[in-house]
């Protein structure tokens, strides 16, 4: 459920409509997924009149000033939106734009003086709200693993699976230290650019960042020489082979059990400078970088040719961390699945915040992750139950049972919180559900080595018991015969 607060300013709708404020409208949509599975998506719109300070702010000249006047975003709960309806002729937005989406869970929509004002405005508000929160593709991507889908969409496969934490490693590869003496201020860059981004994503999991410099690490592919631009290039079809020879030297997976994201900065050797990456059409890529889903990204940093003039090797190279971090943060966004939303027509988009992620993008991520976690937890518990049904001699220990109970309680709690719109607590509950269900499923004591096919049982027990049983059975039979004789005898005497 998405709680949306719609605030009307004074000239946005006709007066008789304004009399009806405040009230609440619920807009429900069923999103059908495959196999009769449907998700109900509710937008609860609370309509109210604008307060005085909001009126003041909205009558200012430009939208940026209006934004700064508004209340701090920390007051707004995660998952909720506020939409302001301004009058049709207001100059807050440029003339041809009908709506505006801001970086802090706020949006502005033009009002209309019309009899059916509320319906039309309601429709516009829904369009904007959908762009900022849940849509079909977000949910379909989250549930992609649990529904058989057509395999050809790369968007669905790119994001990382939901996990409790992530490890991010930045590596500088210098294959030619004799020519380039490369320095990069990674600590400063991380502190300045990456850490705020990760702080904004704090709700999603624990992040740990480390960095390293590798010398004499070459790419596995030889770049080709392009005489037209007198530069070297890596063709798009050779890019997949670049990662493997390098990966063994990164040493990144030894430290923790969290998924690792590697970001590599490659400074090409003097013999192969400058080096560009070409896309499928043969044009050099502007960012000179590429990424691999669920693994990380690589960027090629070409040394400025002016640095070679007159100085002797090795040339001191100071890496421009801003350019590098722009690309790495964009790749990080893509790897997390924060894609550009589909904007409604004639909508002004504010561009990103300084931290690189907008609050409602984070909400979308949390929604997708919560749904994914719930689906994972339920399938894990179901498969555990099926396993127990099929193999009857597994023993369930008490702690495994308590984990299962916890997982079920957490799933129910997460579903309730999602339905009532509390996104933060729903996400925490869904994470707890996933960890409990995984712990229960992967408990080492559940391994069954107890499969006994019938012919093996016969083969083992018959040679053991048959020789023993033959004399026992024979003597039992003899005893029985003798007692029967002794019963018959007294009758005969009589």
């Amino acid at each position: 459920m998405v709680p949306v607060t719609v605030v009307f300013t004074q000239e946005s709708v006709p007066l008789d409509d304004q009399e009806k404020l405040p009230f609440t409208v619920v807009h429900e949509r069923e999103i059908p997924l495959k196999y009769k599975l449907k998700i109900k998506c509710r937008f609860q719109k609370a309509y109210r009149r604008a307060l005085d300070h909001e009126e003041e702010a909205l009558s200012l000249g430009s939208i940026q000033e209006a934004e700064t006047m508004f209340a701090e975003p920390s007051e707004q709960a995660e998952g909720s939106l506020t939409v302001y309806v301004i009058s049709e002729h207001s100059s807050l937005l440029p003339q041809d734009m009908m709506s505006y989406i801001g970086p802090k869970r706020m949006a502005v929509v033009r009002g209309i003086m019309h009899r059916e004002a509320f319906n039309i405005i309601g429709h516009r508000v829904i369009q904007v709200a959908q762009a900022m929160s849940l849509t079909e593709d977000v949910l379909a991507a989250a549930l992609a693993d649990h529904l058989p889908e057509d395999k050809w969409s790369s968007d669905k496969r790119r994001p990382l699976k939901s996990s409790l934490g992530y490890e991010i490693t930045f590596s500088l590869l210098n294959p030619d230290p004799k020519s380039h003496d490369v320095h990069w201020d990674i600590e400063g860059a991380v502190r300045r650019y990456v850490q705020p981004f990760l702080n904004a994503l704090r709700a999603v999991g624990n992040f740990s960042v480390d960095s390293q410099i590798l010398y004499y690490a070459v790419l596995g592919v030889n770049p080709r020489f392009d005489p037209a631009s007198s530069s070297y290039y890596l063709a798009a079809h050779s890019l997949p082979h670049v990662i493997n020879p390098v990966e063994s030297r990164l040493g990144s997976s030894a430290a923790s059990l969290y998924p690792v994201l590697n970001f590599l900065l490659y400074v090409p050797e003097l013999a192969h400078s400058p080096l560009y990456i070409q896309d499928k059409d043969g044009a050099p890529v502007a960012t000179n970088a590429f990424h691999s889903p669920r693994w990380g990204g690589i960027m090629v940093y070409n040394v400025d040719p002016k640095a070679y003039n007159g100085s002797e090797l090795p040339v001191r190279v100071k890496v421009d961390m801003v350019r590098v971090m722009e690309v790495f943060l964009a790749q990080l966004r893509l790897l997390f699945g924060i894609a550009q939303p589909q904007l409604p027509p004639k909508c002004l988009f504010s561009g990103s915040k300084s931290e690189g992620i907008m609050s409602w993008e984070l909400d979308r991520l949390l929604w997708a992750r919560s749904v994914e976690n719930l689906a994972t937890a339920t399938t894990t518990l179901t498969s555990l139950a099926q396993l127990l049904g099929k193999i009857s001699n597994i023993v369930i220990k008490d702690d495994v049972a308590s984990e299962v109970y916890r997982a079920v309680a957490a799933v129910q709690r997460a579903a309730e919180e999602l339905a009532s719109g509390h996104l933060a607590s729903a996400f925490v509950a869904s994470q707890e559900a996933v960890t409990s269900s995984e712990r229960a499923f992967f408990d080492p004591s559940l391994l069954h080595l107890l499969y006994f096919p019938d012919d093996q049982k016969f083969a083992i027990y018959i040679p053991l018991f048959l020789p023993m049983a033959v004399p026992i059975l024979l003597s039992l039979f003899k005893i029985f015969l003798e007692t029967r004789k002794s019963w018959k005898k007294p009758e005969k005497i009589d």
Binding site: N244, H291, S292, L329, S352
Partner: protein, 395 residues
């Protein structure tokens, strides 16, 4: 391109001329389609390579596994994604005339042991229980990361097993067996938890086809070196080492894989043709009914190599450079470098103390139950045979 060639062959020139402009349009469409068909939907590759037999005369099983390991590493799968289980140590075996080597070809042409072999489960750690734990993921969390199979739902896994087997079972370490039903159940548990995207199962034992008869989980393709009732034979003995070096099926698979490089487009149908009956004496079999794609669209490198899916990064986000902070921290780095003291090599072992230590006295323990029982038995038998009267000669 294939479209135009095909049409040119089969039709008259008039039709060919008419269809040429359409052909070029269709060619690009077909290229796209071909690209899509070849894509398998996996993002990483894992390999689990198991050799189940010990003792020196089973040298060939260790050589089999190591040659598959070598091919898989050469084609790109890193050690962190390979779980290698060898049940015995051939390279350092006291009977190995060439220590630290394991050869796969006669006349010692190819040493598959190399310099960078990383064995994850060795010697007595290769048990049915550990193997099933690796597959299903039910490992105690204290085991090192290299012993886990950390695959996810987008992993293609190659499982290779070799050793001595029979109809429906595979022998581990001469003391236990894994049945085909247990293996099928383990794969089903992997599927339930979505631990693989596609699985390729190769087995090189006698009657190997019986091991894949019972699979019932989707997306599994299986190959075996012999059918039920047939034995898999070994390839060639080496007179210098004294044992058979490789099994036939894996020998020819290795020769086939030596010609594959990470960019090759060879598909699974070629792998099915490896080692026909004339070379292998046994009939290799395969099973593809559980697999969703057509084997001729499955590349060898989908399982044996690790070809990553990459995308070009086309977007960036804009950041404001903050030159003030960066300058000051850069200067701080320079100053730090100058102020650091030269590093010293720390004292680790107190060598002098160790050399002059006296040998420790071991505590004396009374003889254990087995020895006592043995002696009691011997004494009883002696007195039973010769009579109790001999006791007086002792006391």
């Amino acid at each position: 391109m294939a479209d135009t060639c095909f049409l040119g062959q089969g039709c008259t020139t008039l039709v060919g001329l008419l269809l040429l402009p359409f052909g070029s349009l269709a060619a690009s469409q077909i290229e796209d389609q071909a690209e899509q068909l070849f894509r398998s939907g996996h993002t990483n590759n894992w390999a689990v390579l198991v050799c189940t037999s010990r003792f020196w005369f089973n040298y060939r099983h260790v050589a089999n596994t190591l040659s598959v390991y070598r091919s898989v590493k050469r084609l790109g799968i890193p050690d962190s994604h390979i779980v290698l289980m060898l049940a015995d140590d051939m390279a350092c075996n006291p009977r190995n005339p060439k220590p630290a080597t394991v050869f796969s070809h006669k006349n010692m042409e190819l040493n598959v042991y190399g310099d960078d072999v990383e064995v994850d489960y060795r010697s007595y750690e290769v048990t049915v229980e550990n193997f099933l734990r690796v597959l299903t993921g039910r490992i105690p969390s204290s085991t090192p990361r290299s012993k886990h199979l950390l695959s996810d739902d987008r992993s293609n896994i190659l499982i290779y097993m070799t050793g001595h087997g029979g109809n429906g079972f595979l022998k581990f370490q001469d003391s236990e067996e894994i049945t085909n039903i247990e293996l099928a159940d383990a794969f089903e548990q992997m599927w339930q938890k979505r631990r693989y995207n596609e699985l390729l199962f190769i087995i090189d034992t006698c009657q190997g086809a019986s091991m894949y008869e019972r699979f019932y989980s989707p997306n599994i393709m299986a190959l075996a070196s012999s059918q039920v009732g047939e034995d898999s034979l070994s390839h060639q003995p080496d007179p210098a080492i004294g044992v058979h070096l490789m099994d036939r099926y894996t020998f020819y698979v290795l020769e086939f894989l030596e010609e594959i490089n990470p960019a090759s487009q060879t598909n699974m149908n070629d792998l099915f043709q490896v080692c026909p009956k004339s070379l292998c004496v046994s009939t290799p079999g395969h099973r593809t009914d559980l697999f969703q794609r057509d084997p001729k669209n499955v590349l060898i490198t989908d399982f044996f190599g690790s070809v990553r899916k990459v995308e070009i990064t086309t977007e960036t986000i804009s950041l404001q450079p903050d030159s003030g902070i960066m300058e000051s921290s850069y200067k701080k780095d320079l100053m730090d470098e100058e102020l650091m003291e030269p590093l010293k090599y720390a004292e680790q072992l107190p060598v002098a103390q160790i050399i002059h230590q006296k040998p420790k006295l071991k505590d004396w323990h009374p003889p254990g139950g087995f020895i006592l029982g043995l002696w009691a038995l011997i004494i009883m038998v002696f007195f039973k045979t010769y009579g109790i009267k001999h006791m007086k000669f002792i006391f």
